[in-house]
């Protein structure tokens, strides 16, 4: 049952060193504040899972938090490369990171299987590509028609962290706009934390919204602006300039570390 906590208490309660952690939010509602809190608390040796690593994983990887990365598209969307992600894979800086990569369809189906508590998902995909020899995917025959399909293993992170627009005081969560893969990530994970823009007395039902009841969530924490520089539809706007700024700043290791120390790790930052 979801407990309302401060963000530092929630991260401390839900995430341990070495855990596999999925911070999801597909181009929208990316949980930056929670990712920053992981770094402030010095979490280490994490297996980080995320379809689109985006800037938040570039920061976590650059600060050496990840021992392993599971992903499907590691770019700065609309801008170019993720330079810390590249530096880690190309030059092992600041440390070597093991990678497991998939296609989006594969990752999405892995979460679906995890949420359904099935051992694997069946799909059409991967065949004919060099991904087949580099990742966890296996051929499987349809037991009814014999058609050759592929199976991908369920993804069951120890922790899922997502950001949403609203929660009520009992910890029920509502998010709207682009829903990504957050519902699947929360239901696939063993533990979950949802940060929210605001806590309200009563959730007002919205058409097309995703609702996660409090009994599938462990912790809810208020984090207004917690998806910046991505956005929370209807509440905060996407800061495109920051994505462009990051492309410049993150090319240089020293400039990156200095920026992280000043803007994320210092006691005053984001508090």
């Amino acid at each position: 049952m979801a407990e309302l906590m401060s963000l530092p208490d929630a991260v401390a309660a839900v995430v341990g060193d070495g855990d596999s952690v999925a911070l999801e939010g597909f181009t929208h509602l990316i949980p930056f504040a929670a990712g920053h809190e992981l770094m402030r608390q010095g979490r280490t040796e994490l297996e980080l899972i995320r379809m689109t690593p985006d800037l938040i994983y570039d920061q976590l990887i650059g600060m050496g938090v990840a021992r392993r990365l599971v992903f499907s598209y590691g770019g700065n969307p609309g801008v170019g490369s993720l330079h810390r992600f590249r530096d880690a894979i190309e030059h092992d800086w600041p440390r070597a990171v093991e990678i497991e990569e998939h296609s989006h369809a594969g990752m999405a189906n892995r979460y679906v299987a995890g949420a359904a508590r099935l051992p694997f998902a069946v799909m059409r995909g991967y065949v004919g590509t060099d991904l087949v020899g580099r990742t966890q995917v296996a051929e499987i025959a349809c037991p009814f028609t014999g058609e050759q399909l592929v199976a991908v293993p369920a993804l069951t992170p120890e922790v899922a962290i997502i950001h949403a627009q609203e929660a009520d005081r009992r910890g029920n969560v509502q998010l709207w706009g682009i829903p990504g893969v957050q519902k699947e990530a929360v239901l696939a994970a063993k533990r979950s934390l949802v940060t929210v823009e605001r806590i309200v007395d009563e959730l007002e039902p919205r058409p097309g919204a995703t609702v996660l009841p409090n009994w599938v969530i462990d912790a809810v924490a208020a984090a207004p602006g917690g998806s910046r520089p991505s956005y929370s539809l209807g509440i905060t706007a996407r800061d495109n300039d920051f994505y462009k700024f990051w492309d410049e700043l993150s090319r240089d290791r020293d400039a990156f570390v200095a920026w992280m120390n000043e803007h994320v790790l210092s006691e005053m930052a984001h508090r």
């Binding site: 499907s72 598209y73 992600f85 590249r86 369809a105 991967y126 991904l131 706009g177 699947e184």
Partner: protein, 254 residues
């Protein structure tokens, strides 16, 4: 920035975008990422095909942006979409079954069978350049009705052999897509800043069918990492009209 008056000659990038937009005249729906494909699709909706359904990977189906989005997650896409779906739904219900007519894809490397690499340059374990990776491309290319590749025309991009096959075009040649069980027809055009390549109906190898205005055939051959076949009736791309250029420049300046 404000819209350039016409009269200024179109740039190679503008020609590429205009040609891509023209390819969408008869499409019902188009799957797009950000960058030039998105600009081309928005332009196509504006000029050629107002009913064209724009489908972005973020889950926005029927988005009607009037600005060029920086990200496929931009709020304008969500706010103007006919429906918004989750990532699993996008791939399992919409892309996989082949409900989308045309997909635009980019790549860092393209080979003669229009197979694509967006994973690594160099060795996989120790890449010289780590690229973003597959994203949705493998399943999009397998299942959408047809694929149009948009890429810059250089020897770095048009290579004899891919460093990594992320996405299958025609695989190893004729019959390959059928053996793999793909629904879609595969690549129908590769639109570059120099011209247009289309697969030969039998061999499935890319053939240069159009050069853009002012581009020499030799220039295209030189920029291609294999001996490029030239169509017997090589044609020159119809130059962008004033209406196309004005609309494109106005869109870009918004």
């Amino acid at each position: 920035m404000s819209a350039e008056p016409t009269g200024a000659e179109p740039t190679a990038a503008e020609v590429q975008t205009v040609v891509a937009a023209r390819r969408l005249r008869r499409a019902e729906s188009v799957f797009i990422g950000v960058g030039r494909p998105s600009t081309a699709a928005i332009l196509a909706r504006q000029l050629h095909n107002p009913e064209l359904v724009l489908v972005y990977e973020s889950g926005t189906i029927g988005a009607k942006p009037v600005h060029i989005p920086l990200s496929i997650g931009d709020g304008e896409l969500a706010e103007t979409a006919d429906l918004i779906v989750s990532v699993p739904e996008m791939f399992n219900y919409w892309i996989g079954p082949g409900r989308i007519d045309v997909a635009f894809l980019g790549a860092a490397q393209v080979d003669r069978y229009a197979n694509l690499n967006s994973t690594v340059i160099g060795d996989y374990e120790h890449p010289r350049t780590r690229l973003p990776g597959a994203g949705g491309a493998p399943e999009i290319a397998a299942s959408c009705g047809e694929v149009i590749v948009i890429a810059p025309h250089t020897q770095r991009t048009f290579v004899r052999k891919l460093d990594f096959r992320t996405t299958v075009g025609f695989g190893d040649g004729p019959g390959c897509r059928e053996r793999l069980g793909f629904r879609g027809a595969g690549p129908t055009a590769v639109i570059t800043d120099l011209g247009v390549l289309e697969p030969h109906p039998e061999t499935k190898q890319l053939v240069l069918t159009y050069v853009h205005p002012g581009v020499e055939q030799a220039e295209v051959s030189e920029a291609t990492g294999w001996e490029l076949e030239i169509a017997a009736e090589l044609r020159t791309t119809e130059p962008p009209t004033d209406a196309e250029l004005v609309a494109l420049r106005e869109l870009v300046s918004r």
